[in-house]
């Protein structure tokens, strides 16, 4: 069985969807949960319409269904998850606190996670306080491993202890009944039960089920918890680390996985090492210790090695043990420096210059007007792209020029548009959605002035270093000592991408021999490696990412096509595909197992386990790091070796996923008094006003739920599709999909115009009235949802208003990703006003929904009367 939720796989990942169809052909059932009936739903065996932003309520219902009917894969759950682990008695659940967990601090709207810890663990489990973790999006560091936690835990393998995770889970989800799922999500109970029954029935020893999600889950103020909820189900049903199972994150861009592995993110360094924080990481040792958390199990114990290798890769010979490998050169975070904070700072005039590298925030980021006004208030802007995108021409053609908010003659931003090389005009690796690196060969030279980013940044660095060559200032040492020697070739002196990849992979300083595995890394400066999780991609001096042995000549796992991190492993935690004794759970689901004769792990994939560590291995009581992992602990990057049903630390909005309403919702949370995520990131900037939501008054001014996503025919902000004729003609106009019922209610006609209004903006679109949208009965009310594609902007072959203009900025606390999959709005027939009247319309709505002052819904709403549950 395949459950697709928060993803429109057939439309957004059509070629990946071939495997879903392949499974369907062989009898797999496909379930699709989505606010509207899409091309994915059309092929699914069951479709569940859901109110946008309520997925946790549905998933919580499934968890309750599994637990109450004892349908979990008990052997797997006891052995491989932390179900048996006992939690401290200080822990208090949402059941006790009206939707909050213990440890909530009203002053900074964040949790002290100490009371969530495992029984017997010390209080200071985390080094950074929670608010700092939120500001620095610390959740992102856990992409490759769990949060630090002590390895030894107290367990009750009968699962009867009232404070064991299993019982906590049962209690936490007790109120997520089918009736409640119906009340919250608008999903009829029969539909819900169809999903829950099928999911449980198709999991276990002989069968596995797969869960697929995309940004329909991540772009929420509770996004991380959506995925946690999905993962809990998959762990309970034994669907992690096994073939045909797992939680598939379908990422949306060619190398967006690579962009987090080797991040261009403010809070991360390559390999998920945190960017140093001024207070928490003043010294190298403190930085390292905060990562490896002395005493915890698993591979993260070698954090010092990874750190040293990165610093050596950056500063080469200048980085020595004596100077802490130039750790002092690193810039320090003091808080949130994320893209939305940056934009608000631009509006406030705090930022001088901005680089846009193949990115179009004027269309693609939430609150487009804020993005454009921010860019209009810079000293200079560098746009590097294939096409003249909206973010380069906002000063000339943007909607704010029409409203008079930007006057070209008064806009001081100096704009450099530099043409970029396309994917066929440069070589390098993309990391696709399953962590697979694939090398692209260069086909042709880029036209005219078009250059790769590699060229631009290498030469920008070269010029800057030349300018500073005679500088004696301390601040310039980091630039002057930088290891910036890459061979170049060709008439334009293009730097060698392979030489960069070799540095990323790492090599032995003395011999220059490329490392084969991160286990070969040393923490004494004798090896160099730019991204430890990518070590092995250049093993034996061979570009492993360029391997292209035809799939037909390989097993289904196809290990000789490209290279996957870590260590070319295709399924993570695949030790879990065997039972605790190392035997396959079943012949049908055989994947990796212990070969007792050869005393090694073997199988179709690279075992995600120490090759010769037998299933019977038990660590010494005080063992830590890799040695602390037992022979039946498959989750080798977790501090306790277990899959986490319950997160004792690291997840900033609670150890267990709970349903909170989206920040903008027409509905009072039926589950808890707490309305929305109490720990969400809020920006109280005048431009970022939000629509009111219950329990506040006036939410009825914005009665409809809107959601946005992709069409097959377009890509993201449209820069690579609205400019391309054969794509532009397939979806040539901006439109909004509405149900027939809403069309009647609001007088909208098929192919007529409508405009949508929020507290930020009003945009117009052609109306597509379709049965594919349905009203939902939510808490005895009818809720209408509308859908828009977010691809349109004012440049290109086909143009239209941008859906992202409608959104305000509210972020998930763990990763600082914006809630741009759900909001509230009004929809009216006809075209929107033009010019300054457009602003008048928005002002009118703001007046009607309260007052004209910037508005932010309250973080905590537990002081009202009790909800009826």
């Amino acid at each position: 069985m395949i459950v697709i939720q928060g993803s429109n796989m057939a439309e957004a990942h059509p070629v990946g969807f071939q495997w879903v169809m392949e499974a369907k052909r062989r009898g797999a059932k496909v379930f699709h949960v989505d606010p509207r009936f899409t091309r994915t739903s059309a092929l699914a065996d069951a479709y569940l319409p859901i109110r946008a932003g309520t997925d946790i309520a549905l998933l919580g219902g499934v968890i309750r269904y599994i637990l109450n009917n004892d349908l979990d894969f008990r052997e797997y759950v006891v052995a491989y998850t932390n179900a048996a682990t006992i939690v401290t008695e200080e822990y208090a659940d949402t059941e006790d606190l009206h939707g909050l967990f213990s440890g909530f601090n009203n002053d900074n709207a964040s949790y002290d996670q100490a009371s969530w810890r495992y029984e017997g663990h010390p209080q200071d489990a985390t080094t950074r306080d929670t608010e700092t973790q939120r500001e620095t999006a610390a959740g992102l560091e856990h992409e490759s491993h769990g949060a630090p936690v002590g390895g030894e835990t107290e367990r009750d393998e009968t699962l009867q202890h009232p404070r064991c995770v299993y019982q906590i889970l049962k209690r936490h989800y007790a109120r997520y009944t089918p009736e409640m799922v119906e009340r919250v999500c608008g999903i009829p109970q029969e539909k819900f039960l169809e999903l829950a029954q099928a999911w449980a029935a198709n999991s276990g020893r002989e069968r596995t089920s797969m869960l697929v999600y995309s940004v329909g889950w991540t772009q929420h103020s509770v996004g991380v918890q959506y995925i946690r909820a999905g993962a809990i189900i998959q762990l309970l049903l034994g669907n992690v680390g096994r073939p045909g199972g797992g939680v598939m994150a379908l990422r949306g861009h060619a190398s967006i996985q690579g962009s987090t592995d080797i991040p261009t993110l403010f809070n991360l360094l390559p390999g998920y090492l945190p960017m140093p924080h001024h207070a928490d990481h003043p010294s190298f040792d403190e930085w390292v210790d905060s990562i490896r958390h002395p005493g915890q199990k698993g591979f993260w114990g070698n954090a010092r090695t990874y750190g040293v290798n990165l610093l050596k890769a950056y500063w080469g010979d200048a980085a020595t043990a004596d100077n802490d490998y130039c750790y002092g050169y690193m810039p320090r975070m003091t808080g949130d420096h994320g893209t939305y904070q940056q934009v608000l700072n631009m509006i406030d005039g705090k930022i001088k210059g901005y680089f846009l590298l193949g990115q179009n925030p004027a269309v693609g980021s939430a609150h487009g007007r804020a993005q454009r006004l921010g860019m209009a208030n810079l000293d200079w802007l560098v746009v590097r792209d294939l096409f003249m995108i909206e973010s380069a021409t906002f000063w000339q053609n943007g909607p704010e020029v029409a409203t008079g908010e930007i006057v070209p003659q008064e806009c001081r931003t100096e704009v450099f548009f530099l043409p970029a090389a396309s994917h066929v005009e440069k070589e390098g690796t993309f990391t696709q959605t399953q962590r697979l690196l694939q090398w692209r060969e260069k086909a042709v030279d880029a036209p005219g002035d078009a250059r790769s980013e590699l060229w631009f940044f290498y030469h920008l660095g070269r010029v800057i270093r030349e300018r500073l060559a005679s500088s004696t200032r301390v601040r310039d040492r980091a630039l002057l000592d930088l290891n910036w020697n890459y061979p170049t070739h060709g008439p334009h002196a293009e730097p060698s991408a392979e030489s960069v990849l070799r540095e990323i992979n790492g090599y032995d300083v003395a011999t220059g021999r490329p490392l084969s595995s991160f286990t070969e890394m040393k923490d004494d400066g004798s090896t160099v490696g730019g991204c430890w999780i990518y070590t092995g991609v250049y093993a034996d001096g061979v570009n492993q990412a360029a391997r292209r042995k035809p799939g037909a000549e390989q097993s289904l796992v196809a290990p000789e096509w490209g290279w996957a991190w870590p260590a070319n492993r295709r399924i993570l935690y695949n030790r879990a595909s065997a039972d605790p004794d190392g035997n396959p759970w079943s012949e049908r689901k055989r994947y990796v197992w212990w070969d007792a004769d050869k005393q090694e792990w073997t199988g179709y994939d690279v075992p995600d386990f120490e090759k010769n560590k037998p299933p019977s291995y038990r660590p010494a009581r005080d063992a830590s790091g890799v040695a602390g992992i037992a022979g039946d602990d498959p989750f080798i990057l977790q501090g306790d070796g277990k899959g986490w049903l319950y997160a004792p630390t690291g997840v900033l909005d609670g150890p267990l996923p709970s349903h909170y309403e989206p920040v903008e919702s027409p509905v009072r949370n039926p589950l808890y008094q707490q309305q929305a995520n109490p720990t969400r990131k809020v920006y109280t900037h005048p431009i970022n006003t939000l629509n009111p939501s219950p329990p506040e008054p006036y939410s009825e001014v914005f009665p409809y739920v809107f959601t946005v996503s992709r069409l097959t025919e377009h890509h993201t902000a449209g820069g690579m599709s609205r400019t391309v004729s054969p794509l532009a003609e397939l979806q040539p106009e901006m439109f909004v999909e509405v149900s027939p019922e809403l069309a009647v209610e609001r007088g909208l006609t098929h192919l007529g115009w409508a405009h949508l209004v929020t507290a930020r903006a009003a945009i117009e679109a052609k109306v597509l009235v379709t049965d594919r949208l349905t009203p939902l009965r939510v808490d005895d009310r009818i809720i209408h949802q509308v859908w828009l594609p977010y691809h349109f902007g004012f440049e290109g072959l086909v143009t239209g208003d941008s859906a992202n203009d409608l959104f305000g900025i509210s972020l998930d606390p763990n990763v600082l990703i914006q809630e741009s999959k759900v909001g509230t709005c009004d929809i009216r027939s006809g075209r929107r006003p033009r010019g300054p009247q457009l602003l008048d319309l928005v002002v009118d709505y703001r007046r009607r929904s309260g007052d004209l002052n910037p508005h932010y819904p309250p973080q905590v709403t537990t002081d009202g009367p009790d909800q009826e549950v």
Binding site: R39, D45, A46, Q189, P732, H750, R772
Partner: protein
């Protein structure tokens, strides 16, 4: 000598067209039950064959903004929204507080749109009523409230819904009227049994446009010539798969020897019938049909006309001998009339 079935009836077309040792006849089987409507076929075709843009208008025909097969769109993905059950799935909107289905009404609106496809006759507007009936399915009686609860556009609310998608293409008929009527030999039968317009020959007489019983072939404005799917004749020659079939993510478009495809299609229909999709049926697969069977045939989930396909096409040249006979008689008649005119008055 021409084959006895040269104009009608089962025939292997390539040998009939003078190819000795012709390779097996190649074609498409388009299984619409697995089509995800991604339109990769439309784009891949345009990229390979250099087909121009076919208009930037939104048509309001569900997600179809192409509208029809034209000289500038050699693949066309049809989208049909219907308040009908789809055999493999449980009812989509059961238990939701819906009103009646609107799909027939919106389809009626979609029928009135048009686009400048850059071709002649391109995409003229259609009949709203026929559109409404398509969207409601064959049960539609045009009278809300007369249908069983929960079906069609009954005012009791909609529970069932299905979204049909199908990639249409030139049928590469066994008896291809376009080819037969072409006066220049521009349209010709290839050794693979396919039907191709030779762009160095076509002089834009337009006869093929009227002759095609499927409304496939069309004339490009400005250029003047007729264009349609070539089944990627150039790629076939190199042993490659046609661009659309190669791109198709879900194998909805399958390419191969027609004989083999027919077997595969029959098996697929059986599977679908077993899985509770009784409306699955093949279209254009039968060598005994009016065009001698299509080289590109389909598995459909509704009546052919719902997808814009003629229900029972017959190649017009089937009747050509009779036509010539009538013309001969008429010629004799006017000759006789002339003789009568000049000699009839003589004593």
């Amino acid at each position: 000598m021409p084959h006895a079935n040269a104009l009608y009836g089962p025939l292997d077309p390539a040998p009939d067209a003078g190819y000795e040792d012709a390779p097996p006849r190649m074609g498409f089987f388009t299984d619409t039950s697995v089509c995800i409507g991604c339109k990769a076929c439309e784009v891949a075709c345009k990229e390979w064959n250099g087909v121009p843009q076919s208009g930037l208008d939104m048509l309001g025909m569900s997600y179809d903004n192409t509208g029809a097969l034209t000289a500038n769109s050699w693949r066309h993905v049809a989208f049909i929204e219907q308040p009908r059950p789809v055999g493999w799935a449980t009812p989509a909107f059961e238990g939701n507080p819906d009103g009646p289905a609107v799909s027939p009404a919106t389809a009626a609106v979609g029928a009135r749109t048009s686009a400048d496809t850059g071709t002649e006759p391109g995409l003229p507007p259609g009949s709203p009523v026929a559109a409404a009936r398509m969207s409601a399915g064959p049960d539609f009686l045009g009278m809300p409230g007369t249908q069983p609860p929960g079906r069609g556009s009954g005012a009791q609310g909609r529970t069932d819904f299905r979204w049909l998608m199908a990639s249409d293409v030139c049928k590469h008929c066994t008896h291809a009227a376009c080819l037969d009527v072409c006066p220049t030999g521009s349209l010709f039968r290839t050794e693979f049994g396919t039907v191709v317009v030779q762009e160095d020959i076509c002089n834009g007489c337009g006869y093929c446009v009227s002759a095609c019983p499927y409304g496939v072939i069309d004339q490009r404005k400005g250029d003047g010539r007729a264009w349609k799917c070539t089944l990627c004749y150039d790629r076939l020659g190199a042993g490659m798969t046609p661009a659309c079939a190669q791109a198709c993510p879900t194998e909805s478009i399958q390419y191969g020897p027609v004989r083999e495809l027919r077997e595969r299609a029959a098996a697929r229909v059986e599977v679908l019938h077993e899985r509770g999709v009784p409306e699955a049926r093949l279209y254009g697969h039968d060598p005994d049909d009016g065009v001698g069977g299509d080289g590109a045939f389909f598995l459909l989930l509704d009546e052919p006309e719902v997808y814009g396909l003629p229900p029972d096409p017959v190649v017009t040249t089937r009747d050509l001998p009779k036509m010539w006979k009538h013309a001969g008689l008429a010629a004799l008649a006017i000759t006789a009339a002339t003789v009568f005119g000049f000699l009839g008055g003589r004593p």
